[in-house]
């Protein structure tokens, strides 16, 4: 949809060369008798990179609508991760490369928010905390120290994590997905 540049605001979403951007900041500048200049700080919604671009009044851009939908992670296959809309049961795919480290915290059934442009998934937002099971625990070769990240374990998603030495195989751990760090052991597993 071609939109006049004057109608673009902070947090509008634009499509430039097929890549969706969020307008993180919009600055309007205009010499009294001159042309309006719009300086936008644009964030690539696929890789998070930002850059500045200046537009003249009268220019048109493609504005897109980006929505967020709660979806359930189902499985991954051939570098694609499959999510399902819990209301319509429609499925959508996201490439592994776009997911990045977030794939380390996805297990079957996890509810996430998927950023959608039309029907195309752009990104997912994980819950701040997830609970994951330890499937492999290396034997600690030292006793507990003041630093509690004393040994490495393998979680059910296949990712390695530094944890305190008392963690054993089969334990359920609470992980902060924003930092990727161990938070606590969930003792009572239902």
């Amino acid at each position: 949809m071609a939109t006049d540049i004057a109608d673009i605001r902070k947090n509008s979403k634009l499509l430039i060369n097929e890549i969706p951007y969020n307008v993180d900041d919009a600055e309007f500048m205009k010499p009294g008798k001159g042309r309006a200049i719009y300086r936008f700080k644009l964030r690539n919604l696929q890789d998070g990179s930002t850059f500045e671009r200046t537009f003249h009044s009268g220019e048109k851009v493609d504005e897109v609508s980006v929505t967020s939908q709660e979806m359930q992670y189902l499985y991954n296959q051939d570098q694609h991760y499959v999510f399902m809309n819990t209301e319509t049961f429609e499925q959508t795919l996201l490439e592994e490369s776009i997911l990045g480290n977030k794939k380390n915290f996805l297990k079957d059934g996890t509810l996430v928010n998927v950023l959608l442009m039309g029907e195309k998934a752009l990104d997912v937002t994980l819950p701040n905390f997830v609970e994951l099971k330890v499937v492999e625990s290396a034997v600690s070769n030292k006793t507990d120290t003041v630093t509690n990240q004393a040994k490495m374990v393998v979680l059910e998603t296949g990712v390695n994590l530094g944890v305190p030495t008392f963690i054993k195989e089969g334990d359920i751990l609470k992980i902060d997905t924003r930092s990727g760090a161990y938070v606590e052991r969930i003792t009572a597993k239902k």
Binding site: F28, M29, K33, G34
Partner: protein, 310 residues
């Protein structure tokens, strides 16, 4: 523009000093001009016609336009023999919203018969010094972490010098001025010292539809602008008094407006009729909201306007 966590009551309480200073500055401005024999006038806000300017788009009000500047009416008064006039008026310009822009804003315009653009700049210097003195700043205005020294003389630079030095081209001789505004904003204005006012003068002839050309160099229009603290504050002209020239320039602007905005702008015939009687004169328009921002140490227009556009 505004802090989203703030309620309207909190915001209005926070900007109270700005609004009080606004009222104080109005009183100072009025006495400054009245004491010199200027007549304060009012002209229509809902105007039957305005000057055609490609990059200033008016709001439509049924068969009228909201005033973008009182310029044409002020000059019609001058043509009828009024020598020294000033006006503080609400003006409206579509799509102009930003940190330093509100679509409804206040212009101070004044005109002097028998004078020219540099006399209007001189008036501006005296006015800013006078306000600073009345507000007990002396000649040093604290602004955005700096001190602006407003003692005379203010720095003067021609458009040609500034562009050759900082943008690498000469707009006076260049045929294509399409990059002028973006270079002014992104390459020229950032080089202006923040601790002193700057006067940018002698614009390319095509960039001043209502100004007289320099008789010795017709490539240059007698137009000057005042910049303080990174803000464009005022725009002065030696006014064009030749009805034939003026009609030709308006015809060009009207054609551009038709082409770029697909709008049929009406020729300001009554103004052109009056122009035959307009004496040589200078005129200037000064952004009052920005003047108040300057004396209120803010670079955000919303801090000095009670109810800015959302």
């Amino acid at each position: 523009m505004t802090n989203a966590d703030e309620t309207e009551r909190q915001r209005l309480a926070r900007i109270r000093m700005g609004l009080e200073r606004r009222a104080h500055i109005y009183r100072i401005v009025r006495s400054f001009f009245c004491d010199q024999g200027f007549l304060e006038v009012e002209t229509p806000i809902r105007a039957s016609t305005i000057a055609p300017e490609l990059y200033i788009e008016p709001f439509q009000s049924e068969a009228y336009l909201l005033s973008t500047s009182p310029e044409l009416y002020m000059k019609r008064l001058l043509s009828a023999g009024y020598e020294k006039l000033f006006q503080i008026s609400h003006c409206f310009r579509k799509d102009e919203r930003g940190k330093q822009h509100n679509p409804e804003f206040i212009l101070l315009e004044w005109y002097r018969s028998g004078s020219d653009y540099m006399q209007m700049i001189n008036d501006t210097q005296q006015l800013v010094l006078h306000i600073a003195d009345k507000l007990h700043f002396g000649a040093q205005i604290p602004y955005q972490g700096q001190t602006i020294d407003i003692n005379l003389p203010w720095l003067k630079v021609t458009v040609r010098e500034a562009f050759i030095k900082h943008a690498g081209w000469d707009p006076i001789t260049a045929g294509d001025l399409s990059e002028f505004d973006i270079d002014l904003v992104t390459k020229i204005m950032p080089t202006f010292p923040r601790n002193r006012p700057v006067i940018l003068m002698d614009y390319p002839a095509p960039m001043a539809s209502l100004a007289r050309l320099n008789p010795l160099n017709p490539l240059v229009a007698e137009r000057a602008e005042v910049f303080i603290g990174g803000m464009e504050l005022a725009n002065a002209f030696s006014e064009l008094t030749d009805p034939y020239q003026q009609r030709k320039r308006f015809q060009y602007e009207i054609a551009q407006i038709k082409k770029e905005r697909n709008y049929n702008h009406t020729m300001p015939e009554k103004f052109l009729d009056s122009l035959a009687y307009l004496p040589p004169c200078g005129g200037i328009a000064l952004g009052v909201d920005r003047l108040i921002m300057l004396f209120n140490d803010t670079n955000v227009i919303d801090d000095v306007v009670a109810f800015p556009e959302a």
